[in-house]
Amino acid sequence: MKKLLFLSFFVIILFSCKNQSVTSIELNDVNLTAEGPYFEGPNSFQSKILNTLKINNINPENVDKIVLVSAILILPDSIEDGLIQDFSLQLVSNSSEMKKVAFINPIPKGKKEIELIVAQEQDGINEIFSKEEFTTLLDANFSKDFETNIQFKAKLKFNITTH
């Protein structure tokens, strides 16, 4: 009887896991752009991301969860230390809620590659990915006016849990 109970329990656990697997997707060429001049305060840069799941042969219906695990911003050489005080990264699409997924405040000095702090709570990212396109929106808080056009390159890594 005990063995039967144990076996039943084991089978229940096994099937409840739904055979989930985790895939990592890296978007290494996210170019966030905005036309200058830029003024003191928050300025928004954006980049459209297309067909991410399709390109990676992932069926949106099989996706249980998507989590941003790392976000790295590469600052152009024209940016001097102290020009930008903080960054905030959001994901937005026409059919789901805007999600703030990462930020950094203050920006560490002397670095050109900035690793953002990723949000611990990231519900609903899979809804954003389920559409053909979504937008990454970077808010950069400038400490003073800046004339030269710039763009930021971002490397984003997502973990996608599917069943």
């Binding site: 905005a34 830029y38 003024f39 305060g41 928050p42 928004s44």
Partner: protein, 363 residues
């Protein structure tokens, strides 16, 4: 004609076929310093003071709680006519438990920055369980044991800010209290009415005070008392007070935006009409229950706008005396100096108590 039509298209074609981009381009840059120098488009920009200050304990839309008192002694006199302060022979009985459900709802009817009007209702029930060995065979004990004491009430609260610093706060309530059940509600003529009105100031986001007058049954019988409101939060936003003296006084410790603890006291009371007791006079009998509850309460967000509370404390009895009142339902005013005689002079021993609740809190 053909030339005319062609000319029309030439002049207005751009209106027909151009798409104006209504999307505000996020790329359009902005100078944030310009937002310092703005003006209202219609010339009016009146601000009104908020009914709350920083870090107050959340106000509740809906509450469900269970209140439980631990054992204590109840000393009951015989029915008679007793002057205030007289030494009266009593019989002692032991109450094992006094407990019951407390329901409360407070819904905004109009809720804007210029005017706040809330309507609410409450239901309190207290069931008494007496010790089998020591229960005296009195009608009052039998009634308490049978149906306990119930209060159902309606209240209306209005908050009117006069400008960005001053406000008026008014509340009226009607409570029907007695040993009745929901299926057998007592006559509405025994409804007791309370009211309060305060005028106050909110000098900044961390302080709010007011003074006023109240007509209240908080100590069990009708009284007219001055009231003082004083809500305050320390500059570090970790401590504060929530005071509506003399009804309740609390010191507050905020751990974060989602949990806090309050320590202090609250005065509770109602006047309960007791039916089903044979009286030697052509009157009604009302128990004037008034209690002072010293307490510590922990409040914490459970999920979203659902908060939970755990309260532990000590219930000190202020009054459990009884009065004869008119059959018509009207009450009389004794206050602190009146000399009307009591029908019973009773005492309740103090008792530890706890209260657990779950609440839907308001923005």
């Amino acid at each position: 004609m053909k030339r005319f039509i062609l000319l029309l298209f030439l002049f207005v074609g751009d209106q027909l076929f151009s798409q104006t981009d209504s999307t505000k381009k996020v790329e359009e840059e902005e100078d944030y310093s310009i937002y310092e120098n703005v003006t209202s488009t219609d010339g009016q920009n009146k601000t009104f003071c908020n009914p709350k200050i920083f870090d107050l304990s959340p106000s509740r839309f809906i509450s469900i709680a269970w209140d439980q008192q631990l054992p204590y002694d109840m000393e009951l006199s015989k029915m008679g006519f007793y002057p205030k302060g007289s030494n009266v022979a009593t019989e002692t009985t032991n109450v094992i438990s006094t407990s019951g459900l407390r329901l409360f709802a407070n819904i905004p009817v109009i809720s804007s920055n210029k005017f706040l009007w809330q309507l609410g209702l409450n239901y309190w029930n207290m069931k008494y369980v007496f010790s089998e060995n020591t229960t005296p065979n009195t009608s009052l004990v039998q009634q308490l044991q049978k149906d306990g004491l119930t209060t159902m009430g309606l209240h209306s609260t209005v908050y009117k800010p006069l400008n960005d610093k001053q406000f008026i706060l008014m509340q009226v309530s009607a409570d029907l209290s007695g040993n009745y059940t929901i299926s057998n509600i007592q006559d509405l003529k025994f409804t007791r009415y309370s009211a309060s009105i305060l005028w106050g100031k909110r000098p900044n986001d961390r302080k709010q005070w007011a003074i006023g007058l109240s007509r209240t049954y908080r100590v069990g019988e009708l009284n007219f008392l001055p009231i003082i409101l004083y809500n305050w939060t320390a500059p570090n936003r970790k401590w504060g007070t929530e005071i509506l003296f003399p009804a309740r006084v609390h010191v507050r410790k905020n751990f974060n935006a989602r949990s806090l603890v309050m320590a202090g006291y609250e005065l509770e009371g109602q006047s309960y009409r007791i039916g089903g007791i044979p009286l030697s006079v052509d009157k009604e009998l009302e128990i004037r229950r008034g209690e002072l509850r010293l307490r510590l309460e922990y409040q914490r967000q459970i999920l979203g706008f659902i908060w939970g509370t755990i309260q532990v404390g000590y219930r000190h009895n202020y009054s459990f005396n009884a009065d004869y009142t008119e059959k018509s339902g009207s009450d009389f005013f004794r206050g602190f100096v009146g000399k009307q005689e009591y029908a019973m002079i009773n005492k309740l021993g103090g008792a530890p108590y706890f209260n657990v609740g779950i609440h839907l809190v308001s923005p």
